[in-house]
Symmetry: C2
Subunit: 440 residues, 2 copies
């Protein structure tokens, strides 16, 4: 029997995912705005046959957050550049439904899909910082549930706009003078609760039919949106049991929404420290941990929890009854649960999560890393992983050079790309146009 | 005395600017969504040492319009790709102030400026089709004067966001742990009539300080905005006298707005047919004119004039008292004046303007073309030109291969780029941050 294949993305972030990565001696401190750096990483990722590059995004400056997030490229412009130095790897960009218009989003991702010949993916977020609202003419960020309601309609409109042209709509017949076959062009005429969008789009049907949809919400509203709309789920479980529970919940919800279990690929984030031996891998981690000052650690924790911790003892526990944030609520909850489960002080907590921003961290030799990844995939906890390298480039190239060959040797990871589009490489079905379906 | 140097851009448009260009035997009918096509043209333009590539944009499908405008790449994604195959040429993308947010525009063009190391330019438009409104939750397009009022404030906000970081704001000091120098980071806190934008931007100061601003409005509101804000004016005069009058008006208005005459570069559009002899050049034009059917011609004219012409004799004059469009009013007026001045029938009018979409067309040998271009630049009618090749690639490569060497021979066009940024190559001053100025 063929072994279950692991899907792998790499979450690009300037100097790396460890909060102090930019201080690492090998890190390129200006990486977040250095195009040559991103090109090199993209090329390396494709040499490793990864499924996709993943770029997060935010729409504000946030002084509490990771320095590498403060100044950075806008994702669609950067991914367009990276499409030119790669041929097979997927290009996932984040864009907010709260501060964008469906027409722009449909068009930009269709444009990227054309430019890359079928490798575009949209990571759907609803944004979560009040500071983002203040950059878009609003006093207050929209309420969590309203954001998700709007997001669902937003995604429906985007999918509709991507269907504006049937696959064979462009005649471009020089002899007859017919450029577009009129019957193959469709006007959406969407009038919903939040959006009114006529269409058609001024971009022809994307090569993938529908660019891949990624979603990362773990709240009830987030998982409902994901189960209905997403092809790939990016998530943040720490333990096998939690990951299994999340995996089952999402797949069940997808089935309830009329989809197949295999239609969604669940890819938890993971930060990997790999070396010849586990001891050497752990030493790499400790080297980065030494670079976290209390100021960096506290800023980071306050940002994620949405509260001021300045009155509390660093060597005591978190305050009780932290109010739910209007930001990323599922991430807040995961962090509070971690502190309770492991009985951590504030200092221990920030030291623990600052390394991977709340995501799972694993250590070991190439063989030990492979064991830990395969364990989750073979036990219905994951379909693959979104790699969150602690620092670039070393923390990433180590994975490609040491772990990928091990996974390939064990027959759980490709040695060549299966297809030309991201959808093909992820093993996702091509989505036919709604109008083509009507004609069957 | 050094001769006045000509500035040259090339307005990229899929198959070409002639309305029937896509039917030309040599045209690549799918050019508007073919990335290899655009890369080849960009490389050729840089071989010719042109100042900039120029991409227009629209936010709707318009069945009356040029087929090559119907499905096309989103400008910022395409320009990001083109930044990778070029090193010196400017990258001008169009974006609407009416259907965008200042934060997104500031960020995307800053991102492109970083990706291209100082070659980004924003062509500021206010949009003009009702169909665009209906793609953005609105029943009706905003009134012409309101659009320009909003545009002025929009541009002010974008300029403010580009000043968020002083040139030396990013310390990235691994030893001290200081990433951003706090005193060098500024929050805009803009609260105006139409926009409320806090800032700072999450993109550091663009390499050019301020990406180049381009504007193409010729109406009173358009020229007021241009004289105050723009570095480059793209315009559409047909005759030397009209161009001189427009040139003087814009430069006078710029001076009245507190700027220097040389701070704005006026670049009329021009469609060039060049061959060994004038006769052969005119034959190329006639070959394209033969491809215009009455349907193509009428659609095109109705779109520009904003009226239905179906009841009128093709071989009679335009109807009198055509009401002002809420779209591109200055273009409508130029076309009506042309018909009156030359006493044209409807058929003659569409045949005349379909070749260049209302812009000037010139024919001749390389020497004759150089004469016609130099005449305008030497007589205060233009600082340069935005080339609108009748068809790609031939109608463009002819210009690069035949006319550029002639201009270079006459000492009116560069043989090497003067600098690394678009601002340097256009001879425009670097704009210091408003905060750096305060400290002087």
């Amino acid at each position: 029997m063929t072994k279950k294949q692991i899907k792998l993305g790499v979450f690009l972030m300037g100097t790396g995912h460890h909060i102090a990565s930019w201080r690492h001696p090998d890190a390129q401190a200006d990486a977040s705005e250095n195009v040559e750096f991103f090109k090199e990483v993209a090329i390396k990722a494709e040499q490793g046959k990864l499924d996709m590059l993943f770029l997060s995004d935010g729409l504000s400056f946030n002084e509490l957050s990771h320095p590498a997030e403060q100044v950075r490229f806008e994702p669609l412009t950067l991914l367009s550049v990276l499409s030119t130095v790669t041929k097979n790897i997927g290009l996932t960009g984040t864009a907010s439904t709260t501060y964008n218009e469906p027409f722009h989003i449909a068009r930009k991702f269709s444009s990227l899909d054309h430019l890359s010949r079928g490798r575009a993916a949209w990571n759907i977020v609803t944004s979560y910082y009040e500071a983002e609202a203040s950059n878009f003419n609003q006093d207050k960020h929209l309420d969590h549930s309203l954001r998700y309601d709007r997001a669902d309609e937003f995604v429906e409109v985007v999918k509709g706009l991507w269907d504006s042209y049937e696959d064979d709509a462009l005649a471009r017949n020089k002899e007859t003078g017919e450029y577009i076959k009129k019957g193959k062009l469709h006007t959406l005429n969407h009038k919903g609760e939040y959006y009114s969008v006529r269409g058609p789009l001024n971009s022809s049907r994307p090569p993938q039919g529908r660019p891949v949809l990624v979603q990362a919400g773990s709240s009830e509203a987030g998982t409902t949106l994901a189960a209905k709309q997403a092809d790939v789920i990016f998530t943040a479980q720490q333990t096998l049991a939690d990951a299994q529970s999340f995996y089952k919940k999402l797949k069940d919800k997808a089935v309830a929404a009329g989809r197949n279990r295999d239609d969604i690929k669940i890819m938890p984030g993971v930060s990997v420290y790999v070396a010849e031996t586990e001891e050497k891998a752990r030493a790499k981690y400790e080297e980065l941990q030494q670079l976290i000052t209390p100021e960096i650690g506290l800023d980071f924790l306050e940002d994620y929890l949405g509260i001021d911790l300045s009155g509390y003892d660093l060597d005591g526990p978190l305050p009780k009854d932290i109010p739910p944030t209007n930001g990323n609520r599922s991430r807040q909850q995961l962090i509070i649960e971690l502190a309770e489960r492991e009985n951590l002080t504030i200092r221990e907590l920030y030291l623990k999560i600052a390394g991977s921003r709340g995501h799972r961290i694993i250590f070991g030799s190439p063989s030990q890393i492979a064991d830990q990844l395969i364990e989750w995939v073979d036990n219905d906890a994951a379909d693959g992983f979104n790699l969150m390298p602690p620092y670039f480039p070393g923390g990433f190239t180590d994975f490609i050079d040491l772990v990928i060959p091990e996974l390939q040797k064990r027959g759980v990871f490709r040695t060549e790309y299966e297809g030309n589009t991201l959808r093909e490489n992820l093993g996702l079905q091509q989505v036919p146009s709604r109008y083509a379906l009507q004609q069957v």
